[in-house]
């Protein structure tokens, strides 16, 4: 009835699209318009993830000139494989950060999950499938427990995840028992899948074609329904251009990695998860509510959102992703030990999310930041490995390069804010 009440709209719909009728709006039309828009964005510093990509390019050129192997097909494939497990963990961290929360225990959880799987399959003789399901359950239970601590008792996430970091490391030791390291059988499904599965030559191009077709279809369908609703649409040639760029870019990359082994299942699985999370975050009610809670939890609550459910889903997903990452890392490494997940995993995963552009303060960031961030970190690490220097120098250079990669982004943001945006 409130809708009836507002039925007496003031004016009839204008000739221009409803969303472009304000006369203060600077219009974007045709090629020139887009060029101008792009220039304005450049000047305003509103570049999305462009600066981090730029950072990545700078880094790559640097390492390439020091050691050409860096950009070899083979090396790119290995970077992608190593990036995947921690990238998946970082994806979970992105979700936590979007809520303005942190999870310091993803490393321990990944180790504990992998150890549980290993003990169940290798020591106790259960099937790999059983082991994987059990490991995922470990993640789920931990996440649920975190959600309980947060929503019922109000313990800050920093504290409970710090406690988890310690406790689950203890459990990892406990589960592994005296023997310590457990080697996974090399014919185990997990080992084979993570290490030796690649998409075949032909299949990979089919994949590219399907992706481009899907993209194009989604864009055109979106444009059509906006036009039907009397709203502005993206300029058609622009859509075509973007699709073409996508096709050429993906096609070339595929050609290039096919020189070596091609796209690994491991990497594709990670990318698929990122795309799926991106879709969930941007296109579903759950994602919308997640951003709302991260932006202003009180406003979200007053809007009738079930805030506790959002916290539950995020803590659970973060821990489950940690478990998945731990399993894949174990498969790729073919073993689980007392050190699994305990060294740099936490910091790397959190750093990846932040470097990719997700804010620590909630409400700002995308699923893609996990991908971008982990690729940057892995590229730095691999590059420095190839250059081959003493640890002292390597540490110093890692820090410096990291700073460089992010500083480009920061400076461009700074330009934006001084031009009044944000």
């Amino acid at each position: 009835m409130a809708e009836e009440a507002t039925a007496t709209a003031t004016a009839t719909a204008p000739a221009v699209a409803a969303d472009l009728s304000d006369e203060r709006l600077i219009r974007t039309e045709g090629a020139a318009g887009y060029a101008k828009l792009f220039l304005n964005r450049l000047r305003g510093g509103d570049l999305g993830s462009l600066p981090v990509i730029l950072g990545l390019i700078v880094i790559s050129i640097g390492f390439y000139s020091a050691e050409p192997v860096f950009l070899s097909s083979r090396n790119l494939v290995s970077i992608s494989q190593f990036a995947a497990p921690i990238g998946i963990i970082a994806l979970g961290i992105v979700l936590s950060l979007l809520l303005g929360e942190i999870d310091l225990s993803v490393g321990s959880v990944s180790g504990l999950a992998a150890a549980s799987m290993a003990v169940l399959t290798v020591d106790k003789g259960h099937s790999v499938f059983f082991g994987i399901v059990a490991a995922l359950l470990v993640g789920l239970v931990i996440g649920a427990f975190y959600a309980f601590l947060y929503t019922r008792l109000g313990v800050p996430s920093f504290v409970f995840s710090l406690a988890g970091l310690l406790s689950f490391q203890g459990m990892l030791l406990y589960v592994l028992g005296k023997n310590g390291t457990i080697n996974l059988p090399s014919d185990s499904f997990l080992v084979q899948w993570t290490r030796f599965k690649f998409v075949g030559d032909a299949a990979s191009y089919v994949l590219v074609a399907v992706i481009v077709a899907l993209y194009l279809a989604a864009q055109l369908w979106g444009a059509a329904s906006r036009r039907r609703a009397g709203l502005s649409t993206t300029w058609m040639p622009m859509i075509a251009l973007k699709a073409a760029l996508l096709a050429v870019g993906l096609g070339f990359l595929t050609y290039y990695v096919n020189i070596d082994r091609g796209w690994s299942y491991l990497w594709l699985f990670f990318v698929l998860l990122v795309v799926a999370m991106d879709f969930l975050l941007r296109r579903t009610r759950w994602g919308r509510h997640l951003y709302a809670v991260g932006g202003n939890v009180e406003a979200a609550r007053r809007s009738g959102i079930n805030v506790n459910r959002i916290y539950f889903s995020v803590f659970a997903l973060t821990s489950v992703f940690a478990a998945v990452g731990g399993l894949l890392a174990a498969g790729y490494q073919t073993s689980v030990s007392q050190a699994s997940g305990t060294t740099d995993t936490n910091l790397t995963a959190i750093a990846a999310a932040v470097i990719g552009g997700t804010s620590l303060f909630g409400g700002r960031g995308t699923a893609y930041s996990a991908l971008l961030g982990i690729v940057v970190l892995q590229a730095i690490q691999t590059g420095l490995n190839l250059v081959g220097v003493d640890s002292s120098v390597r540490f110093m250079v890692t820090g410096a390069v990291l700073l460089l990669a992010v500083a480009i982004d920061s400076v461009s943001r700074r330009m934006r804010s001084s031009s009044g945006r944000g």
Binding site: M1, A2, E3, E4, A5, T6, T8, A9, T10, A11, A18, D19, D22, R24, L25, G222, S225, R226, R228, A229, G230, L231, R283, T284, R285, W286, R288, H289, Y291, A292, G294, G295, N296, E298, A299, A300, R301, R302, S303, G304, I305, N306, G363, R364, G422
Partner: protein, 269 residues
């Protein structure tokens, strides 16, 4: 000052409060407050700054839990455990602090918690279309609905918050100082809107410091002072002077003094 406490509201009583009490630390914000709203009735809630109006609104909308007292909704005693329960009962609220998510755009804020969707996928196109319709109804001057709320002017934000309360099917709408930041045209539209809500049989609680607006649209005026019921008027019974006196608790108040001084007709500058 004419105080008539027993009133039979326009239609059936939708909401009725009795003996509501609320304390914050050392401050007693509400003491034994009662209030009734009928269907198709506009009740204005007025009072000085800090009188407890917003606290009362937040109690009804489930944001705060009262320390004591009863809330009777549609004849049933209810306990509003949280904002989502209030929404389920059919209580829509425009909060004084707006309660918008700065990081989300206008469309997302408008439909927050009540998104339109195909299956579980958001229907952005329909929401955007509907957003423009709602905003036009309120004469909103918003250049784009795809910019984050953080980039809007004060009045633009308030318009968004008001438009929010029209999404869904409420039985009662509470507006906490809805026109504070609005321009003259937008204020007029909101007053029109309040009248349309009344015509469709909704109960409306309007909190405002603007006596002219209150007198223009309200059926009944409830005055709070320092957290207690101070007076209640039928709108046609009350003069502005009486209202101000009830709010400030004195008839020789600064408002009266100013009015007199200006009556004196001296030119300034």
């Amino acid at each position: 000052m004419s105080t008539s406490t027993t009133q039979s509201p326009a239609g059936d009583v939708v909401l009725s409060l009795a003996g509501v009490t609320k304390r914050f630390g050392a401050v007693q914000a509400l003491t034994d407050v009662h209030l009734q709203v009928g269907a198709g009735e506009v009740v204005a809630l007025v009072g000085d700054n800090g009188a407890g109006k917003s606290t009362l609104v937040k109690i009804i909308s489930g944001v705060y839990q009262p320390d004591g007292g009863d809330i009777i909704f549609a004849g049933r005693k209810v306990s509003v455990g949280g904002p989502s329960e209030a929404q389920e009962l059919g209580i829509a609220t425009v909060f004084q602090d707006l309660a918008l998510c700065d990081n989300l755009d206008v469309v997302a804020n408008l439909f927050l918690g009540q998104e339109k969707h195909h299956g579980s996928v958001l229907n952005e196109v329909e929401m955007e279309q509907e957003a423009w319709r709602l905003l036009r109804t309120l004469s909103a001057k918003i250049p784009s609905v795809r910019i984050p709320i953080a980039a809007l002017s004060g009045g633009q934000r308030q318009t968004v918050a008001i438009a929010r309360s029209l999404v869904g099917k409420p039985k009662i709408v509470m507006l906490d100082e809805p026109t504070a930041a609005l321009g003259v045209a937008q204020t007029a539209e909101v007053l029109n809107l309040v009248e349309r809500l009344r015509e469709t049989g909704l109960g409306v609680i309007l909190v405002s410091h603007n006596m002219a607006d209150v007198q223009a649209v309200a059926d009944r005026i409830v005055v709070l002072r320092l957290g207690r019921n101070a007076a209640e008027f039928k709108v046609e019974e009350a003069t502005t002077e009486e209202l101000v006196a009830a709010i400030t608790g004195a008839s020789d108040n600064v408002v009266a003094a100013r009015a007199e001084r200006r009556q004196g007709g001296e030119q300034h500058g």
